[in-house]
């Protein structure tokens, strides 16, 4: 039995008097891709922020490799890649500078890979353009380049495909599969139709909601 | 609209006509400034009150006058660019700003230097000085706004609006400052009332003023020509021009 990377026990979250989910239990093992589904406002983003440790607006227990997350924060954070609604791209910096800063925040990343990552997301030639001069999709791509850089085991991706064109989406899907095959785990949400097929597990929040 | 107006609107025509005018103005400027300076420094009589520090006037007054006219030109050119979408006017306006600012700095600096021997301090909050300082700020604002906007057309339009607003305000500023000053500080140092100058004094001053204007014209045309070249870099005539070099 492969032990769970991330284990969630009896999670409860309420916003504005509305219960988003309660008694939520699931675990993510190495090699798994989990898609959180649910309609707009069902609490996907809220869940992902809780899992990543950004929000402590919940009740329940989250275990990272069988230890409570709060106790292994350091280690958890160095194994985590979080991609939120806000892409975390500074508009006045160039793609290269943005990624360099990200590398400084994550000591496991080597700066040399940045160029190849930018090339892989189709931004060659734009390394030196300030991000506010890039299109919406190009801005997201800068942030997505982190997927190529990161050495993290667990990826938490909140609608990573927003504003990305079809070719880009297909490429990112492949990347996610590869990551899973190499023993990583991915938790993601998206409203795009995925072609990942069988390899992915779905978790629907709509059914879990209270009133 | 007269024909020359439309021709002026053509960058190429403007580039060429400015190229033809430049040497003439340059020679005038050089002769007037050198001659005027020699006259001012060596031959003009010294002032009976201020002695030789008076010779600063030959720099100070031309620069003070020029700084103001330059702003006017900038605003008018900006307005033309804004209303008739004339590119060359935009370029003229853009070129005016750094020249005007440097001249305003010169007026301020010479004024401050002159103040030391006459008033005993580098700076006093006098009406003229204050309004000159504000003029400098207006220039700096236009320059800063222009350089902050990446898109050339947007930058030109924005700066034009700003300089026009400034133009409306200049008389108000001048008036208010003068009035404020007389209210606070009854004429300790009057700049306006001076003994009528003898001709030996004001003729070189006039020479210097004209010299400064010529110098301004030369600088403005050179900057505008550069601007035209850069902005019209896709046009075939610019390519031909470059190939010839």
């Amino acid at each position: 039995m492969s032990t769970a990377l991330l284990q969630v026990n009896d999670l409860f979250c309420e916003r504005d008097e509305r219960i988003l989910f309660e008694g939520l239990c699931f675990s993510v093992t190495a090699g798994e891709v989990v898609q959180i589904e649910g309609q707009n406002g069902s609490g996907k983003t809220t869940l992902l922020r809780i899992l990543s440790g950004l929000s402590n607006n919940f009740e329940g227990e989250i275990l990272w490799q069988d230890e409570p997350v709060e106790e292994v924060k350091e280690q958890f954070r160095s194994e985590l890649l979080y991609f939120g609604h806000h892409p975390g791209v500074k508009a006045v910096l160039t793609p290269e500078e943005n990624l360099k800063w990200y590398a400084a925040m994550h000591p496991s990343i080597s700066v040399g890979d940045i160029y190849s990552a930018l090339e892989k997301v189709g931004l060659q030639g734009y390394e030196d353009v300030p991000c506010h001069n890039l299109s919406a999709g190009q801005n997201r791509r800068v942030s997505l380049a982190r997927l190529y850089l990161s050495k993290a085991k667990l990826w938490i991706l909140d609608e990573p495909f927003t504003a990305i064109d079809k070719k880009g989406v297909a490429q990112k899907e492949n990347l996610i599969l590869e990551h899973a095959r190499a023993g990583g785990s991915v938790i993601l949400t998206t409203h795009h139709e995925l072609t990942l097929g069988e390899q992915i597990r779905r978790l629907n929040l709509d059914e879990l909601a209270g009133t | 609209m007269p024909r020359w107006f439309y021709q002026l609107a053509s960058p190429r025509w403007s580039y060429n006509i400015m190229g033809k005018l430049l040497p003439g103005f340059a020679i005038c400027a050089a002769l007037l400034l050198i001659g005027g300076t020699i006259w001012a420094l060596m031959f003009a009589p010294e002032d009976y009150q201020q002695g030789n520090s008076f010779r600063i006037i030959y720099i100070h007054v031309p620069s003070a006058i020029l700084a103001q006219s330059c702003y006017m030109l900038m605003a008018v050119a900006g307005a033309i660019g804004l209303i008739w979408k004339m590119k060359v006017a935009d370029m003229v306006a853009k070129s005016c700003a750094p020249i005007g600012a440097s001249i305003a700095v010169l007026a301020l600096a010479t004024g401050a230097i002159w103040g030391k021997p006459t008033w005993g301090s580098w700076w006093v909050w006098d009406a003229r000085l204050t309004s000159m300082l504000i003029l400098l700020f207006l220039y700096l604002g236009v320059i800063a706004l222009h350089s902050a906007i990446e898109n050339e057309a947007t930058a030109a339009q924005s700066s034009a609006v700003l300089s026009l607003v400034g133009l409306v305000n200049i008389p108000i500023i001048k008036y208010s400052v003068e009035w404020w000053n007389t209210l606070h500080q009854p004429a300790t140092f009057t700049l306006t009332e001076r003994p009528a100058m003898p001709a030996e004094m004001w003729v070189p001053l006039l020479v210097m003023v004209i010299g400064f204007y010529c110098m301004f014209a030369v600088s403005l045309m050179m900057r505008t020509r550069n601007e035209i070249l850069y902005r019209e870099r896709r046009a075939s005539w610019v390519r031909e021009l470059l190939e010839k070099q």
């Binding site: - | 700096l140 902050a148 609006v161 700003l162 607003v165 409306v168 500023i173 208010s176």
Partner: protein
């Protein structure tokens, strides 16, 4: 008959213009009320200056009384200036400014309403609070009327001029300061006439001239500034 129809029509147009003005004004006031910060920022700044100044410079009443008109006016000016940048910025960032510019309604009215809302949240409370500051800075009581009236006439002009600067810099990532540089020189006449009026009030000199001047500037501003603001907004957004 014909005459009447035109009248009717023009009345209708008038109504819709007033409705628009009111809708924009209400929205901006509501925004300020919800955000709170915009509502109190200028006020707190104003009070801060009044507190810090005696602490930092000198707490002696005679001294403070002498500088009070100037300090209050400088504080009001800075408070307005600092609140200016946010006038169009949040609208720009969330796309409502685009929607405003694309609406068929007259921009002049919209802009005027926005500036009025801004003034009601900066200049007006400042004016109302001014006597308190006056007391804190030992301004002689003869000066109070002059202080309030001069602020009442002067601060709308500050808002109008400042809005031009805000509109010019709204598209710029490097905005922010620029606005101070652009607007400050234009503020100086208001400052000078304003303080002169208060000083005249304190010393018992005639005031009417100053108020006439402040009023004239305001009138000029109301007529001209919205045009400049509208043009500047269109330019900024298109860039």
């Amino acid at each position: 008959m014909n005459q009447m129809v035109t009248n009717e029509q023009s009345k209708q147009v008038n109504d819709s213009v007033l409705g628009l003005f009111w809708a924009v004004l209400k929205r901006d006031l509501m925004l300020a009320y919800r955000r709170k910060s915009d509502l109190f920022n200028p006020l707190i700044f104003f009070l801060m200056v009044a507190t810090l100044f005696p602490l930092g410079v000198s707490p002696e009443p005679e001294f403070l009384a002498e500088v009070a008109p100037g300090v209050v006016w400088v504080a009001a000016l800075l408070a307005t200036l600092l609140s200016m940048d946010s006038l169009f910025r949040s609208d720009f960032e969330d796309g409502t400014l685009e929607q405003t510019l694309l609406s068929p309604q007259p921009l002049f009215i919209i802009v005027l309403a926005k500036v009025l809302a801004h003034w009601m949240m900066s200049g007006l409370p400042l004016t109302i609070l001014a006597p308190l500051l006056g007391v804190m800075l030992f301004l002689p009581s003869e000066g109070m009327g002059g202080l309030m009236l001069s602020l009442l006439l002067g601060t709308p002009t500050l808002s109008l001029i400042g809005a031009i600067g805000a509109a010019l810099t709204v598209g710029l990532r490097k905005g922010g300061v620029l606005i101070s540089l652009l607007v400050l020189p234009l503020y100086i006449p208001v400052l000078i006439f304003g303080t002169s009026a208060v000083q005249a009030a304190v010393t018992g000199l005639p005031l009417a001239g100053f108020f006439a001047l402040l009023g004239a500037m305001l009138a000029l501003g109301v007529v001209m500034a919205p045009l400049a603001i509208g043009a500047a907004l269109r330019i900024s957004v298109s860039g």
